[in-house]
Homo-oligomer: 188 residues x 2
């Protein structure tokens, strides 16, 4: 077959996602995205006529799908609260490569109205995650306020540990965070 093979959507989005997670939206130039994708710029525009903004939005959409399937669904299972949180910790550890990869929810955050679409996607993702964690804690017998407070703090710890790990050049804060998350969330 002389025809050049199509690079699969899933693999393409994953490579683009790596770039956005590493350098953020503005620093992700088409040159960098093109090299990471293994496609020339014009080919990227063929796949994403909306340009960089569409790439980022599809990357975000993919991340939300991942969140739903690998985080929210397991959290909403009928397993024990301990097991549901343990499952989340394992998925999170893999997704962030043990603290070496940043979070899109941080890297694509922007105060610009230009990228307003991202803002609501990011807010929704945070709220869905916190809501699901909160439901687990309510199942575990905590009152609503405590559940919500601890769920939000878990996400804060996760995001903060990624920031500090990145800034200090060590994954220890992230590993500490995950190692203590279940115990802290369910502590009486």
């Amino acid at each position: 077959m002389a025809r050049p093979a199509k690079i699969e959507d899933s693999a393409l989005l994953e490579r683009l996602s790596d770039v956005f997670r590493e350098v953020g939206y503005e620093a992700a130039s088409l040159a960098v995205l093109s090299e990471a994708a293994g496609l020339k710029k014009a080919s990227l525009y063929h796949r994403f006529p909306g340009g960089k903004e569409q790439m980022a939005r599809e990357v975000m959409a993919r991340a939300e799908t991942w969140l739903s399937e690998h985080i929210l669904a397991p959290l909403q299972s009928s397993a024990l609260p301990e097991a549901r949180i343990q499952g989340m910790v394992r998925s999170v550890d893999a997704f962030y490569s043990g603290g070496r990869q940043a979070c899109l929810l941080n890297m694509l955050s922007s105060p610009h109205a230009d990228h307003g679409p991202f803002a609501s996607l990011i807010r929704n993702a945070f709220e869905a995650w916190i809501g699901a964690l909160s439901a687990v804690l309510i199942d575990a017998g905590f009152d609503e306020d405590t559940a919500r407070f601890r769920a939000e703090r878990a996400i804060v710890l996760l995001q903060g540990s990624l920031v500090v790990s990145r800034g200090m050049g060590t994954t220890r804060p992230f590993r500490n965070c995950l190692a203590n998350l279940e115990r802290e969330m369910l502590a009486r």
Copy 2:
């Protein structure tokens, strides 16, 4: 006096700092920096011959000075541990405008070798802050490992609460973080 008045270094750096904190390094174009500073691009280059990278480095240096004077020094005072942490909380609340302004240590973090200078400044700032907090906890009677662990977690909570506040469009996570920081750090 027909001669145009010089804009003071301190005011200039503060305006530039606001831009870097809001949008990060790459999105801080000279056009944006120029407008925020109230100086034309050529004037910025007169004050910062090294261009944008020098601006960011001087903004970082200014932030480290602020950290030393308003955070590290009070933490190293001879006051009670409770009072030292309360003082830090007040300073932090003001510096981050109650959670509305982001942290340079997050916004200027970059995996690029280009901006390597930032990386060591950021790492040093994190380490100095955690070290000072750790010393307070040792003064409060905690063992070295516990002190270090809790100090690091305090910084993680701070950074994470800023990320989540920004992402969710509310300052509540940041306010929660500060409201509970002293109690959590000193809990027996």
